[in-house]
């Protein structure tokens, strides 16, 4: 098939591109600008197009059969709320609209498991779940509106839309730090090695990408599919990180108000240093709830995911070679062979 991937330089998009290539598809990638990690894949045709420009998107989609729309802004905090809304909702509407204009048969839209809600008890949610009346980050609501916009645009344009709802996606490359990998990084940087009440579901990025390919071919139009891995408590997730890098912990249970105050400080510091905050008050508000999900619906199509430990190991492997983990922290870790094996070494080209 001729597949077009938006957000192809992002954490998930890169892996969708590679998975599509591995499956023998012809791949086009929508990128914001030239000079991307995809340059290493000469068979991928790169098209520079703004995610909200229908005409240029439609031109890029000419003769394309299916689209995987991974482009999104995955960020928390009031500072980025407008951007989140613009890209996640308006952008998705226009991508599906462009697909309709270009005669694309199907669009798989990357949504998020958070649209299926969460619980105060450790009970997995499925695709029938919805956000409740709990306070949620703007990113969560933007993903709900994204789903609605995608389905509506698909219906009006005659395009099949399938919603992929990955959980917390861990892995690399981690040149740009996304909030999911930041969960791992935050714990490594935390001097008190704090953990939280509640839990989440983590999935390795390669598994999530493979799930997208699966939905491209076998997903039912108009349906959404949770693409998760293992349900874990925050405490067990943090214990896994500790075990994989040989540091003690977790050592303290941090209640939501304390996490909220720490996040406020982190945001203030980020504002001073003109950087993205490592944690936000919005994220802190989700502490205490169980973001557990069941991927049974996707599993019925053949979806499989590795255990949380493997996903965490992959995230760690990339963080260890990325720019976000300070040297002095990295040097203090006793990294297990599992982590080292999670990222294959890639020999540099030899200079003649």
């Amino acid at each position: 098939m001729r597949v077009l991937v938006t957000g192809a330089t992002g954490l998930l998009g890169q892996h969708v591109v590679r998975a599509a290539l591995d499956a023998g598809h012809e791949v086009r990638a929508v990128v914001r600008r030239r000079g991307t990690p995809l340059d290493a894949l000469p068979s991928v045709r790169q098209c520079a197009a703004p995610i909200t420009d229908v005409a240029r998107l439609a031109a890029a989609m000419e003769n394309v059969e299916v689209v995987v729309h991974c482009a999104a802004v995955y960020a928390y905090g009031a500072d980025r709320a407008a951007e989140v809304e613009q890209v996640n909702v308006v952008g998705t509407q226009r991508v599906v609209g462009a697909a309709a204009a270009a005669g694309v048969r199907r669009v798989v839209v990357t949504s998020s498991s958070v649209t299926c809600g969460s619980s105060v008890e450790p009970v997995p949610q499925d695709e029938t779940g919805r956000l409740g009346d709990e306070v949620v980050p703007r990113y969560f609501t933007s993903k709900v509106r994204q789903e609605q916009a995608a389905l509506a645009a698909g219906e009006s344009g005659g395009v099949e839309v399938v919603l992929a709802a990955p959980t917390v996606v861990l892995g690399g490359p981690a040149d740009r730090l996304v909030p999911s990998n930041a969960i791992v990084l935050r714990y490594l940087l935390d001097p008190v090695r704090g953990t939280y009440p509640g839990g989440c579901n983590v999935v390795g990025v390669r598994d999530a990408a493979a799930g997208h390919l699966l939905l491209l071919e076998h997903g039912a139009a108009g349906e959404r599919y949770l693409l998760g891995g293992e349900n874990v408590s925050w405490c067990s997730l943090h214990a896994t990180i500790s075990d994989l890098v040989g540091v003690p912990g977790p050592l303290a249970l941090v209640p939501m108000p304390v996490a909220y105050a720490a996040s406020a400080a982190a945001e203030a510091w980020a504002r001073l240093t003109a950087r993205d905050p490592l944690s936000t008050r919005e994220e802190a508000l989700t502490i205490g709830r169980w973001h557990w999900y069941s991927s049974a619906k996707a599993a019925a199509l053949g979806y499989v995911a590795r255990p949380a430990r493997a996903a965490v190991a992959e995230s760690l492997a990339w963080l260890l070679v990325g720019p976000h983990l300070p040297r002095w922290v990295r040097e203090g870790l006793r990294v297990s062979p599992e982590v080292r094996a999670a990222r294959p070494l890639v020999p540099r080209p030899l200079v003649p």
Binding site: T52, D79, Q86, V87, V321, P326, W328, R330, R334
Partner: protein, 692 residues
């Protein structure tokens, strides 16, 4: 033994250093014409006599005079004019006078050699009406043609200086806060564009060794003394001119006249340490009255030590000079920098006043500053290694002095030690280690997921030491190569952060060691073995070992590092004598080796993948000098003032302004207000050139 490396590698010092030079000290009275003093000195030293190197051998021959032009103590314009006349009289029809503009000169408002020369009274015409040209020595540079062991190797030097048929250096008799006196060896350093991280003392010594002056002159007609005579003019009529056939000898004479040890000058000390350097007492080669200048006052050793501890970077040196030196009318910072005047008010009276009490006060101020600098440095070493300056160093030994048998003996030294580790169990940190002869003998290994052939093609075993963790810089000189051009024997100097890093907080010095190395390339094994032969700063009494890459099966390579090390602890920790507390020491040792080699293996993998891994910052010489510390404080004050002027609400509104998101998803934020004093200050501080 074969030879390899840059410029033929195996190195011998030039004849310029090995020959025995002569120096003459001519002393007169305050009223003696400087030209007369110079003429007597030149005549007595013999350089300009028939047959001497100072006589032009062709009409097209060029002479270059490198003159100290920096205010407030430039050389006398009339003395330079007289020197030019003397050279022209000896057949040098082309005589140029060269200088450079240092960062400190720029800080005082002198932006070009021409303005410096005018300020020094160099008019371009001698007293006898002959014209000469004033040139910027660094306006045109060439790659230094020097042995690979030199700190200048791979760097740029002045074309005019390098290609001159006669090189003359003229320095001024003055005291110096950091080096006791700024002599001819230090002055010669300005002929080189030092790579970032090179110690100006090493640069001066190597210029002296490989591109040294044929004639050195010191203008001691009116000296400047006191704690910082080179920065603050305190004139003392000394009526003296020194001429010598070597900068080093001229400086030895000057030190005697100042009543100080020549080696208090770091460039002179470095020149004296040069391998193959002078071994006989140089003062015996000097003619004339070497009795100290009456009434001479130099910097107290305490003061000198405190200043050196403070001025550990170009930015710190600029700050120190800006605070200590007299403010100049042309000084662009005087009017706008709110920090400098306050600091100057604190220390200036002590610099001009002299006396032990004021020296003690100034020492205290500088030591307080150096303590802060040391704390900041230790913080960087432990937590922000990318802020630490990388270093460029000379080899600090003559690679050619060692025989092939010496290099072969490295392996015979290391192999038996490796066998001592065979039965040692792995520690909690994954290291096999034991104490052996008051040193730590260790072995640590990692299997990397890379085929042996691919690994060795990308990770050069000969460069193994420079790939290790915490490597700040060094120099590697191959002395023998195999038929594929790969080094098989090499000499290397390495500089690392203090080990373990936390020793920096206790005053621990960087590890600085010189090694002989043997490299072997087999079908299934590549091996580098080394033995330390000296440590320039006494930081290690033993640092021997080996690194091995072995074929460990399909797609696997085993990397093993073995070593035998004894690093010297800083006095505070040495006093604690941790050997009495093995429960503590063993844990610290195990942790230190695990951390260091974990990072080392990560470095090797990064090298294989082509990822950056080196610590430290390489300052691009083209990016301008490191800003003075006070500049940062001044910018903060600027920012605070503008924030107060606009009101906190205005600042908040600007900081919290909503970004505009464009169609491509980019966020656009309103930028800060620019222009005015802040922009001018930023531009002012972005001067090009090498800070000295």
């Amino acid at each position: 033994m074969g030879s390899g490396g840059k410029n033929g590698a195996v190195v011998r010092l030039t004849e310029r250093v090995e020959r025995l030079p002569r120096a003459v000290v001519v002393r007169g009275t305050a009223s003696t014409d400087p030209a007369v003093l110079l003429d007597r000195a030149l005549t007595d030293v013999g350089v300009l006599q028939p047959g001497g190197v100072g006589v032009a051998r062709s009409t097209g021959a060029r002479a270059l005079v490198l003159a100290a032009l920096s205010p407030p103590v430039p050389v006398l314009g009339s003395l330079v004019g007289a020197l030019v006349d003397a050279l022209v009289d000896r057949g040098w029809l082309w005589v140029d006078v060269g200088g450079v503009v240092t960062a400190l000169d720029r800080d005082r408002g002198f932006g070009s050699v021409a303005t410096l020369a005018r300020s020094a009274g160099l008019t371009g015409q001698t007293g006898r009406g002959r014209s000469y040209q004033v040139v910027d020595l660094l306006a045109d540079v060439v790659e230094a043609s020097v042995p690979a062991q030199s700190v200048l190797s791979g760097g740029a030097v002045s074309r005019a200086w390098t290609e001159a048929d006669l090189r003359v250096v003229v320095a001024r008799s003055a005291s110096d806060l950091l080096d006791g006196y700024p002599g001819c060896v230090a002055q010669q350093a300005y002929a080189a564009v030092a790579d970032s991280g090179a110690d100006p003392a090493d640069v001066g010594a190597d210029v002296h060794a490989y591109l040294g002056a044929d004639l050195a002159v010191i203008d001691g007609v009116t000296s400047s003394h006191g704690p910082a005579g080179s920065w603050v003019l305190r004139p003392l009529e000394t009526g003296t001119v020194v001429a010598a056939t070597s900068s080093l000898l001229a400086d030895v004479a000057l030190a005697a006249l100042h009543g100080t040890d020549p080696a208090v000058s770091r460039p002179v000390a470095a020149a004296l340490r040069l391998p193959g350097g002078p071994r006989s007492p140089l003062a015996a080669d000097i003619r004339g009255d070497l009795s100290p200048f009456p009434g001479w006052q130099g910097p107290h050793p305490w003061l000198r030590d405190a200043a050196r501890r403070l001025a550990t970077s170009p930015g710190a040196l600029r700050s120190l000079a800006a605070v200590v030196a007299e403010s100049s009318a042309a000084d662009p910072d005087t009017a706008t920098d709110p920090i400098l005047p306050a600091l100057r008010a604190l220390v200036a009276p002590t610099v001009t006043g002299g006396g032990p009490a004021t020296a003690a006060w100034l020492s205290g101020v500088l030591l307080a500053g150096s303590a802060a600098a040391q704390a900041a440095g230790a913080w960087s070493v432990m937590f922000v290694k990318d802020r630490v300056r990388r270093v460029e160093v000379p080899l600090a030994m003559d690679a050619g002095q060692w025989t092939e048998a010496d290099y072969r003996a490295v392996d015979q030294h290391i192999r038996p030690l490796e066998r001592l580790l065979a039965d040692v169990p792995l520690s909690a940190g994954g290291v096999r280690w034991r104490y052996h002869e008051e040193s730590v003998l260790f072995e640590i290994a990692r299997d990397v997921a890379a085929p042996f052939g691919q690994w060795c093609a990308r990770v050069d075993i000969a460069a193994g030491i420079s790939l290790m963790a915490d490597y700040l810089g060094g120099r590697r000189v191959p002395v023998a190569v195999d038929d594929q051009g790969r080094p098989t024997m090499q000499a290397e100097r390495n500089v690392y952060l203090p080990q373990p890093n936390y020793l920096a907080a206790w005053g621990g010095a960087p590890i600085d060691v010189c090694k002989l190395e043997l490299v072997e390339y087999g079908d299934r094994t590549h091996r580098l073995a080394w033995r330390t032969v000296s440590s320039a700063n006494g930081s290690a009494s033993r640092d021997d070992g080996s690194m091995t890459f072995e074929d460990a099966g399909p797609d696997r390579t085993r990397v093993t590092v073995r070593g035998w090390q004894r690093f010297i602890l800083p006095p505070l920790l040495a006093g604690a004598d941790l050997d009495r507390f093995p429960e503590i020491k063993n844990g610290l040792v195990d942790d230190a080796y695990r951390r260091f080699f974990s990072a080392t293996f990560d470095n090797l993998e990064a090298c294989y993948e082509g990822r950056p891994f080196r610590i430290g910052r390489q300052v691009d010489p083209g990016s301008g000098p490191e800003p003075p510390w006070t500049a940062t404080a001044a910018m903060l004050v600027d920012a605070a003032r503008s924030w107060l002027a606009e009101g906190p609400a205005a600042g908040a509104e600007r900081g919290h302004a909503e970004p505009v998101v464009d169609d491509a998803g980019f966020r656009h934020f309103p930028g800060p207000q620019t222009g005015g004093a802040s922009a001018a200050a930023a531009e002012r501080r972005a001067w090009p050139g090498w800070p000295r």
